[in-house]
Assembly symmetry: C2
Homo-oligomer: 324 residues x 2
DNA sequence: TTGTATGCGTTATCAA
DNA sequence: TTGATAACGCATACAA
């Protein structure tokens, strides 16, 4: 491996001069500088990241931690993060699973963005105590080294409920996320508030898992119980899709007629469903961009306010009017 | 930051003893070892990755390079890689974009898996010349430090073509990937061979891009040209989906009746299409696992053979029989 | 403007 | 069994 030492030797200068030249310092003559650069080029010199990181105590890399690589939500989110990170001189790496957690405490990365329920808050707080910088997208956490960028779940769930209520539905199923999910709990809270504001709505909560399988399971229950048309609010789109398939395949019920369905997330898949799924939309790209932005500020030592991502309703034929 | 030096001081031993103890060497007494470990624990010691990497000249991290984070194919592929990597003591990080290329030459990672057409072969060969280990999933490259794990594109395209031919289709459109794509070229080659084996089939090639937009564009042309029922082979599913939507929305033609459509990849989305898209399937998880396996062997200095991932046909109502 | 020297946190060689 | 010391490749304070 060729190091600055080799360049120094070949150029007949000291390693510090080489280091200065390589880093574009004005302390060194243009002449020697260009000579050094030429030699570096010739020797095919490439700096060693570990050495630089060790010395500078920063890697210029930020890590994103996801539950898995399958999620439908992630594409735009990550693109948004990458765009901001790159323009600010950071590289973005995506990690998943417990093993990769070490990246943060071991200082392989300068900061972390968390979207992984399986990453314990306790663990995050430990890292924050060690002065590591973190942005969380999936929980509330109060610490000077942690910032939150959260969805406006309350507004979203409220929009969805009002959409169903306005259309006259009197019986509803709510399919939740997995027990510990922050998003699920926040959405559910808003759901209950919306229901509290109106009378005479019968509603049933079904525990889901934010995955297709949860929607399928819920569908079975709904089919078994079915008497009259009902509305269903799946607290995310993936479950809505699972539910939709199950109903279409295993019953004669029709989405948008007997089953009025709304989801949450507006994932790409929903655009290709028949009928179009009503859902709650938000800019995933912006969410990611903002998260990266906040993290970089945190790393720079700036103080940052927690941010919120706004949501809108996407109408769809999956929800029709209740017939009297 | 607490380092082994701090532990040594507190334990009244030398740093080398600490290092040995921490790494579970048998050179040190169980007694001093456990004392050291206790102190390390107490001090909340965490090793520094950069220092270790610098010294050991390995990071125990492998990097995957993708074109973007949106691809539908990636979920299982990455899971397969991660599983193998983790069990072999490696961490997996996912990168995208030109900026992140530096990870490999700068030795931040021990090896790379490439699935990104935008990553120039020339650049890869340079890295390989510098003794970096690489596995490519999207091209053929002959170098002792590069291994290939490729899809059996030829078999897949042949299966698809035979499926259409068997069903009596006499006019076909082939929607290709972007010009430089290795997969597209290989599939196209097999398509032509299949067509050469039969007579009287009229066929038209449409240049696509492996994205939904390419399918939509192709659809417009097909709609404009339409006279009699035709078969369409989209060289990947994403384009098939784009095409399907365009046709459904902007014509009265029906997939599976006037337009007989087959794709390639069997991405998850296809399962939710109406009608079910015929396509070519392969185990993405296995593909990823094998790629990681090969890379780790390469890093270990073992010699490895190039591997191939087998494919199968998935039938679907998107392809019907030609009516005479 | 350039060189000398030191240290970042480890691992590993060699002596003790 | 343990310790002193060098080295990994780089950045930088200070001296020249």
């Amino acid at each position: 491996m060729v190091s600055i030492k080799d360049i120094a030797k070949k150029a007949g200068v000291s390693i510090s001069t080489v280091s200065y030249a390589l880093n574009g310092s004005s302390k060194v003559t243009d002449e020697t500088s260009s000579r050094i650069l030429a030699i570096a080029q010739e020797l095919n010199y490439i700096p060693n990241a570990a050495a630089r990181t060790l010395k500078k105590r920063e890697s210029k890399i930020i890590g994103v931690f996801l539950t898995d690589f399958k999620g439908e939500v992630y594409g735009d989110l990550l693109d948004g993060m990458k765009e901001v990170a790159n323009t600010q001189g950071y590289d973005l790496i995506v990690c998943s699973g417990k093993q990769s957690h070490r990246m943060l405490p071991e200082r392989m990365i300068d900061g972390a963005i968390i979207l992984d329920q399986a990453f314990e808050s306790e663990e995050l707080l430990e890292y924050a105590d060690r002065n590591h910088k973190i942005v969380v997208l999936d929980r509330e956490l109060d610490h000077k080294n942690i910032n939150q960028v959260l969805l406006d779940n309350k507004a979203g769930a409220t929009l969805a409920m009002e959409y169903l209520i306005e259309r006259g539905h009197q019986k509803m199923y709510i399919v939740t996320g997995p027990p510990g999910s922050f998003d699920s709990m926040q959405r559910m809270k808003a759901v209950k508030q919306a229901l509290d504001r109106v009378d005479h709505i019968e509603w049933i909560e079904i525990e889901g898992d934010f995955k297709k399988s949860g929607g399928e399971k819920a569908a079975k229950q709904i089919i078994a119980d079915y008497k009259d048309p009902v509305a269903v609010f799946c607290l995310n789109d993936e479950m809505a899709i699972g539910l939709c398939n199950q109903i279409t395949e295993n019953s004669s019920l029709v989405i948008g007629e007997q089953i009025h369905l709304i989801g949450f997330d507006n994932i790409e898949l929903t655009r290709y469903m028949q009928p179009r799924l009503a859902t709650i939309d938000y800019s995933k790209r912006k969410w990611g961009a903002l998260a990266a932005e906040q993290l970089i500020k945190l790393i720079a030592g700036d103080t940052v306010e927690n941010e919120r991502i706004y949501v809108t309703l996407v109408e769809g034929e999956s929800v029709g009017y209740a017939v009297k």
